[in-house]
Amino acid sequence: MKSALRRLVTRPGGYIPLIWLMLLTFCAAFPAVVATHEPNAADFTAILEGPSAEHWFGTDDLGRDNYSRLVHSSRTAVVAGLQAVGTALILGVPIGLFVGYAGGWWDRIVMRIVDAVFSLPGLILAFAIVAILGPGITNAMIAVGILFALRFIRLTRAMVLSVREEPFIEAAQLSGAPTHTILGRYLLPNMYGPLIVQTTISLAAVLLIEAALSFLGLGVQQPDATWGSMLRAARSLQRDNPITPWPPGLAITFTVLAFNALGDALRDVLAEGRGGRKKAARRGVAVGLAEDAAAHDHEHPSEEAAGTGTLLSVRNLDVTVPTDTGRARAVRDVSFDVQAGEIVGLVGESGSGKTVTALAVAGLLPRGLAVDPRASITFDGRQLVGMTESQLAGVRGTGIGMIFQDPTASLNPALTVGFQLAEPLRIHGGMTRSAAAERAAELLDRVGVANPRQRLRDYPHQFSGGVAQRVMTAMALASEPSLIIADEPTTALDVTTQQQVLELLVELCEDLSMAMLFITHDLGVVAEVCDRAVVMYAGEAVETGDVYGLFAQPCHPYSQALLASVPLLDADDDRLVTIGGRVPAPNEEFGGCRFANRCELAAEICEEGPVSLKPLEDEGRLSRCVLVDSAPANGGKS
């Protein structure tokens, strides 16, 4: 709590409103000290004067000093706010605690009433309550307090319910501790934060209502001033003295603004205390990029991106992500090619950077992630790095189609499947609505969706995962791209549907002579689907080659370990081999090989410096290992 307070007063959003509210409280406590005149002293020699050294904000129709009346009004504002919010707290918190704790019928009935009253026009209900209680500021504020109690009932009840659902509460109940003592011990300390925030925001709202009621003459009675009643008087006085509506109006605005800003700042501070600090991450961005540039080495024995058959060529791809300490490299110096009509696998564990690589190729990286501008991604002869969003839009769909991991989340829930499927046809293909619908049905039929014509009218939530992935596939095919990027297209599906979708993808690639970049963590799938594969580890491509050679004789110790961990039905050994340790995070830097700390073969030489991809004797095979010449499974003749 103390550190929260410190964080609050060190930010402008915290201390500026606090200073204003402290000034206000001082004025309310000692108005005579701050004011220059008696607030109600009429002076008929100085009626409706403009601002002067004597009367800073001028005078009203009775010659009373506007500044002093404004200062004295602050007491009404403060007292009224405390009365109303105090009433709301006293009524709302116990009722909320009770219904949240009691639950059942109590909860249902009270919350029904609260919801009902909440939906009615508040100001008009306040009128009704004032009509019963009679005019006067205290009555009016109690009326407002009763209405605001509803907010506190809702808030307190919600907090009780959320605590009740915590697993440790259930555990404590099972161990026999009475519910109310557990709730009390855990709930009370956690309630202060949200309650303080709600109180602050309620004070702002109450102040506006108090001003409105006073403005209507339903609050404080003459001659005492409030900001609302000063504004009321200003309506008829502003013609003769235009300054009159400004001081009370600004006083209300600043005070409400201060309460709201304080509420926002409090919420931020409390949220930071609980969770991570997102903003700190952004600061290091520029510094990190510069460091990256210095550390980056570009020596690379790349395959030449030549030949008429090369469709996609990625060279020296670096993708950086923001972290707490600056920018880290999530993808490091990755290079590979995809030939026309070829299926290339991108394999690795979670965190290896394979999905980020795929998204980078399509220019679809999430916010915050960035491709290093020195990288090169050429597709069909066009350089994609540095393209604007609208230039990229010209490549996506028609050139590169995408299939995503979670098909149900990747379809728009608010639009029919038919609309989403017909959209690229109408926009890229220039088809009419009916022609596009016809073609969409054909596409659905092609990917094996039953009753395609009826299903076009359905919404995504009416589809199962497997069928949704077929729809996504149809959508990727719609504009007849020459490359499909499939990002773990079967991971979210049932085992039985996985196989069907895989077969469909391979079949489509053959029939339509499309190339595919297939991202997966499953080596079995790679063996089944791909012509060539790129094995990725901790952001780097550690080995590339044709699938046959890769499986027969993996060269990099990581590929070997990965292959060894695939359970085989006909294996002699029942033991499931795993790789110890975990994939290093993008911001973890090593002097040498990034796999060394998990590698069984690691030697001193591995730690000495960065390791680059080296070509092996086998044509088209590359490996990133210093031991590759001495490694036991070294790629000799197979």
């Binding site: 009509a131 013609r239 209300i252 605005t253 504009s479």
Partner: protein
């Protein structure tokens, strides 16, 4: 469509009954009786008892409620204690004015709020976003009646661009009607526009991070189309909830704002009635305003089905 509307309206009946309890209860919470208010301080006990009998105030409470509620359903909300006019006549004459102002305010709130929130989301973190967030913070803090006072004086009186006072019905002159409504609607709508803008910005930012937006971009659609066709409809779902709530805020605020622009709505009546404890008028206004909000909420509920197809089957 009509059937859904009727069904939802029927589902709102319990809420309407609750409101009628509240409105009826008003009279009986007050010390003394309506007869005393009518006859004044000098009335004899016999005279009060006689008037009580005439007004039916000596009957059991449930009987009084039943009589009141059956009369109300037939459109008879009783007579003003002060002027003896039928409350329903007053409402029929004046309520359309208040509704016009509230509707105008809501229109301003939605138009400015949705536009501002969308621009802020698309320019997240940039200068435009900061300026809009400053604008919404101010919009939330500025009292609508102060804006009304300033607009009426500076734009209405000094510049003379728009009428500072009065009201012309739409049947008389559509053009004049709109002209008289511009300033009240702006004064009333700015605060709610800030609320709508905040929700719109947050909702749109949330939606823009969803996988289906990436998928839409992957189809090669222009970003403008992705935002307008794929993001807006989803981002609107929480905004609709906020708009529903603001509709009720607008109705309360309209009473205040129409007073300042000298419009013949229910504002003058209701403030006068509150001050003189003219309860039949207060009752009538509470009833009618609440029922308006209830109908409004039914419409809002129905609009969810358009924005979120998952609601349709439920």
């Amino acid at each position: 469509m009509v059937r859904t509307f009727a069904y939802r309206l029927a589902a709102a009946v319990p809420l309407a009954v609750l409101v009628s309890f509240l409105a009826f209860g008003l009279v009986h919470l007050i010390p003394g009786s309506a007869s005393e208010t009518i006859l004044g301080d000098g009335a004899t006990l016999e005279a009060v008892a006689e008037l009580d009998r005439q007004l039916g105030l000596d009957r059991p409470l449930h009987e009084q409620y039943w009589n009141w509620v059956t009369d109300a359903v037939r459109g008879d909300l009783g007579r003003s204690v002060i002027t003896s006019r039928h409350v329903s006549d007053t409402l029929i004459e004046r309520y359309p004015v208040t509704l016009s102002v509230a509707g105008g305010g809501l229109l301003v709130a939605v138009a400015i709020g949705v536009a501002g929130g969308t621009v802020a989301a698309l320019r997240q973190g940039r200068l435009t976003d900061r300026l809009i967030s400053l604008g919404t913070a101010t919009g939330l803090a500025v009292p609508n009646f102060w804006v009304a006072v300033l607009l009426a004086f500076y734009v209405g009186v000094q510049l003379g661009w728009l009428p500072a006072v009065g009201y012309v019905g739409p049947t008389e002159s559509l053009f004049e009607w709109v002209k008289h409504l511009i300033m009240p609607s702006i004064a009333l709508g700015l605060g709610s526009a800030a609320v709508v803008a905040r929700q719109m910005r947050g909702g749109l930012l949330d939606v823009l991070d969803r996988p289906y937006i990436t998928a839409a971009r992957a189809k090669g659609l222009r970003y403008r189309r992705v935002v307008v066709v794929h993001a807006m409809k989803n981002a609107f779902i929480p905004v609709v909830t906020v708009i529903g709530f603001q509709a009720s805020v607008m109705l309360g605020g309209a009473v205040l704002v129409e007073l300042i622009f000298g419009m013949p709505g229910i504002g003058v009546q209701v403030v006068g009635a509150v001050l003189s404890q003219d309860l039949p008028v207060v009752q009538g206004v509470v009833m009618v305003a609440s029922l308006t909000v209830i109908v409004m909420n039914v419409l809002i509920d129905m609009s969810y089905a358009y924005f979120d197809p998952r609601v349709r089957l439920a």
